[in-house]
């Protein structure tokens, strides 16, 4: 009889994808039943809340969170403790705790995973924040496209209320806090804090100028704290295990862990949680398992559609707030798209700016009109209509749009353009000056050519060509007329002798 197979099944820690991860925010994912509060409690759930309510003053909670070095995981990286402190100092009987669960970056789903798999961690963090700033009501602004997250949250809220962990007199301490879910209607800009609050107020989700900052005048003009799902999910553990424990991983200024949504041209895609300061190489090659098909790494888009492209030369850069900004990207909410050598950098920049211009709320001129014009210029370049001076105009526009837009959307939207020009200017120039797409992606710039040595003159290309651009004498090398060729690629597909190539 053969040995049982059990010994050969690796543990999680033996699988490279997990070995380099440090699960804090995602610690309960897949381990507990999110629909059962008992399972969350069994994993030390609500112990942080109990400690915060029974053993700590609001000032001590803020001190602990500040000391942990936790920074906003929604993207901007503002110190969470400081934000709470500002709000706690604001005068007023009515304050709000708001959770930003309007995860809008394409391909990013870390907040969704936390809400669906560990909703109590978010609730616990919100109650602690409420205690710290003196709020008694809160909202979770969750996009309606996350029905399962909303479902799990509703179950969790009901259970927490039943257990006396939400509502009146929490844990018998006399502290009241309750919350409700507000469903967003699918606008990317509503992830911006002032737009989010405007949306909860029942108005069109558009950002408003700051100051006043939300800590002073937020939702309905009341002092408010708004944090991202991942931030709240970190709070209870900080309170329970202490600031020193939290700060034991990370870099000097970026503490703790960060969840990334790893996707694109990489073998292992999915959510990865790593200590701040982990190198891009570790994330892409160790955890991500490298690039499929033996292709080369070209760049990684970090920080969602308004992040920046980090090229291969910076693979060993530490991924933390400061370094990422220095390289021209942003941490954002943690979208990490890996691109191999087959990707055209101009096309990538065009793709991201298309998203941003589409999601611009339309309020301020630089974002509304500027991103549209940048898209127009980039589209022109990919279609072979690029002109000398386009790169400089794009750069000038990018700087002005970043510098003069009203909110974070416009202030970061040009990042993909600036970073791709910074690292791949030669590719832009190849498009504009040589009418050539080095990656062979831009259809309008493709040139199908016949290799006369390989061509047998069989005539298949001429037969299948819909515009009769491929032609030639029988048994003689054929040619493709570039003026009439529509770049459909059928000739190359049908050629049995691999005599047609594209450049």
């Amino acid at each position: 009889m053969e040995e049982p197979m059990i010994g050969s099944i690796p543990t999680m820690q033996e699988i490279p994808f997990f070995a380099h991860q440090k699960l804090r925010v995602l610690r309960n994912r897949g381990i507990i039943d999110p629909g059962k509060i008992e399972e969350y409690i069994a994993r030390d759930g609500y112990l942080g809340l109990a400690k915060a309510l029974t053993e700590m003053t609001p000032a001590e909670i803020i001190k602990e969170v500040t000391a942990s070095g936790l920074r906003g995981r929604g993207g901007a990286g503002f110190p969470t403790g400081l934000k709470w402190q500002f709000c706690s100092q604001s005068k007023g009987d009515v304050k709000y705790v708001l959770c930003n669960a309007d995860e809008g970056d394409p391909g990013a789903f870390m907040d969704r995973s936390v809400l669906e798999a560990d909703p109590h961690a978010v609730l616990e963090g919100m109650v602690i924040a409420a205690r710290a700033i003196g709020a008694h009501y809160g909202y979770i602004y969750c996009r309606a496209e996350y029905p399962l997250a909303i479902h799990q949250l509703n179950i969790a809220i009901a259970q927490a209320r039943e257990c006396g962990l939400l509502g009146k007199d929490i844990l018998g301490t006399g502290f009241d806090f309750d919350l409700e879910i507000y469903q967003g209607a699918g606008a990317f800009v509503c992830g911006e804090e002032t737009a989010l609050m405007t949306s909860i107020e029942g108005k069109r989700g558009m950002p408003r100028p700051r100051p006043p900052f939300p800590a002073v005048a937020g939702l309905w003009g009341k002092p408010s704290v708004l944090n991202n799902v991942e931030t709240f999910a970190s709070v209870a553990q900080i309170v329970l295990k202490g600031a020193a424990w939290y700060a034991s991983v990370g870099t000097e200024k970026s503490k703790g862990t960060k969840v990334f949504a790893l996707t694109g041209d990489v073998n292992n895609v999915g959510l990865v949680e790593v200590p701040m300061g982990t190198t891009l190489r570790t994330i892409v090659y160790e955890i991500g398992g490298g690039i499929p098909g033996g292709k080369k790494f070209k760049a990684a888009q970090l920080g969602g559609p308004s992040g920046g492209c980090i090229p291969a030369e910076h693979l060993d850069a530490s991924v933390d707030y400061e370094k990422v900004a220095e390289l021209g990207a942003i941490m954002g909410s943690g979208g990490l798209i890996v691109m191999n050598e087959d990707k055209c950098i101009v096309d990538i920049a065009r793709f991201f700016i298309d998203f941003c211009q589409d999601e611009s709320c339309g309020k301020c001129t630089p974002c509304r009109e500027g991103t549209k014009r940048m898209l127009q210029i980039l589209t022109g370049i990919t279609e072979g209509k690029g002109r000398e001076g386009d790169i400089e105009l794009l750069q000038e526009m990018a700087v002005i749009i970043k510098n003069s837009s009203l909110c974070g959307l416009g202030q970061t939207a040009p990042n993909p353009i600036l970073s791709t020009i910074r690292y791949f200017r030669d590719e832009y120039e190849a498009h504009i000056r040589e009418g050539r797409c080095p990656a062979g992606v831009c259809t309008a710039l493709k040139r199908y050519t016949v290799d006369a040595e390989k061509c047998t003159g069989c005539g298949v290309c001429a037969k299948v060509c819909p515009t009769k651009a491929a032609k030639g004498e029988k048994k003689q090398p054929h040619e493709i007329d570039q003026a009439t060729c529509i770049k459909c690629g059928v000739c190359m597909e049908k050629c049995k002798f691999e005599a047609i190539f594209v450049n």
């Binding site: 309020k363 991103t371 549209k372």
Partner: protein, 354 residues
């Protein structure tokens, strides 16, 4: 009153109230900062970004219309970064629509035109692309040409914050964003009251007076201040007159109370009676069944004679007085005084009570 604080604008030290914005402080000290979306007595939204300035230690340029001053703040309104941004923004706005001054009613009184000229922009670096909206001419009072709209939102705020009619708002987003009543309907099919506040608020030629079309260029119009005759509020307004003819009526915020520049549909759009051929210009007295022109003396004599005769024969309470809401408070006061003291009756009322 709170203590004044000191700030520096363009190297000049000036004092400001702590609740003022940079723009307000600059204006008070005679320092010019261009604006477009800023509209007095409404929320400062910081939408157009034309008023950006540099503030020392700020991460980005800041919109001076909504940034409060703070002690020791160092502001520059005229740096290259500021001008470059303003120029880019105005070029983008210019290229975004059909800003053809040749046939525009606002030519000569257009804030976008002024900005283009002030910044010295020969032409935008972007192809001019009008959105191609149909011009709304479905009512006789207001024409809306959204191809000229710069989305500053002044009409939206005028409608929601000044008149509180809550008809206008933005719809759609990004460069497709547009202003209008709910469900993208035109004014006449919406809840619009036709107060015309949006027309006065519009800095460009997107919302204009239908009756004033081709009625005269802004520089040909003479403005005559008068009091609205429609009711007792006494709204102050400007008749815009071209060659002796009223072309349109505009509000004037400088006149202050009682209406602070706002008007209603009657004061705004119903002044054409002034020049109507059917308008009564002299008193008429019915003689032998025919209405015939008379002098005021004749008319007053007749009224006095008849009222006195009725009073003598049937007593003062056989007469009742009923005044018009178009009279002022003072006129109404005089009228009741006349009824009580001269006629001797309390039978006096006013149509506004109906």
């Amino acid at each position: 009153m709170e203590e004044k604080i000191r700030i520096t604008i363009d190297g000049r030290e000036v004092t400001a109230n702590p609740e003022q914005t940079i723009l307000e402080a600059a204006r008070e000290n005679g320092i010019f900062i261009p604006t477009l979306c800023q509209y007095a007595d409404t929320t400062n939204v910081g939408a157009c970004r034309v008023c950006v300035v540099e503030v020392e230690k700020a991460r980005t340029l800041v919109a001076s219309c909504c940034m409060p001053v703070s002690a020791g703040m160092v502001v520059r309104t005229d740096t290259k970064a500021v001008r470059d941004a303003q120029r880019m923004i105005v070029e983008l706005l210019w290229a975004s629509g059909d800003h053809n001054c040749l046939v525009c009613e606002k030519n000569g009184n257009c804030e976008l035109q002024d900005l283009v000229y002030w910044l010295g922009i020969e032409k935008p670096r972007f192809p001019i692309e009008s959105p191609g909206y149909e011009i709304e001419k479905t009512n006789s009072m207001i024409v809306r040409d959204l191809n000229k709209c710069v989305l500053c939102g002044r009409c939206v705020r005028a409608c929601n914050e000044i008149q509180v009619n809550e008809v206008l708002d933005f719809s759609l987003r990004g460069s497709r964003a547009k202003v209008g009543p709910a469900f993208d309907s035109d004014y006449i099919a919406s809840e619009c009251y036709f107060c015309g506040e949006c027309v006065d608020a519009c800095p460009v030629g997107a919302i204009t007076f239908a009756q004033a079309r081709f009625g005269g260029r802004p520089w040909e119009l003479e403005k005559v201040r008068t009091t609205c005759t429609y009711c007792g509020v006494g709204c102050q307004l400007d008749l815009n007159i071209n060659k002796g003819k009223i072309v349109k009526v505009t509000g004037n915020r400088d006149y202050g109370p009682p209406n602070q520049g706002s008007l209603c549909i009657k004061g705004r759009f119903a002044m054409d009676f002034v020049q109507h051929p059917d308008r009564l210009q002299r008193p008429l007295i019915r003689k032998n069944g025919e209405l015939t022109e008379a002098t005021w003396e004749e008319a007053y004599d007749l009224i006095a004679r008849n009222l006195s005769a009725i009073k003598e024969e049937h007593g003062p309470d056989s007469i009742a007085g009923f005044a018009s809401a178009r009279c002022t408070n003072e006129e109404n006061y005089l009228f009741q005084k006349f009824m009580r003291a001269v006629i001797g009756t309390n039978n006096v009322d006013h149509c506004a009570r109906l």
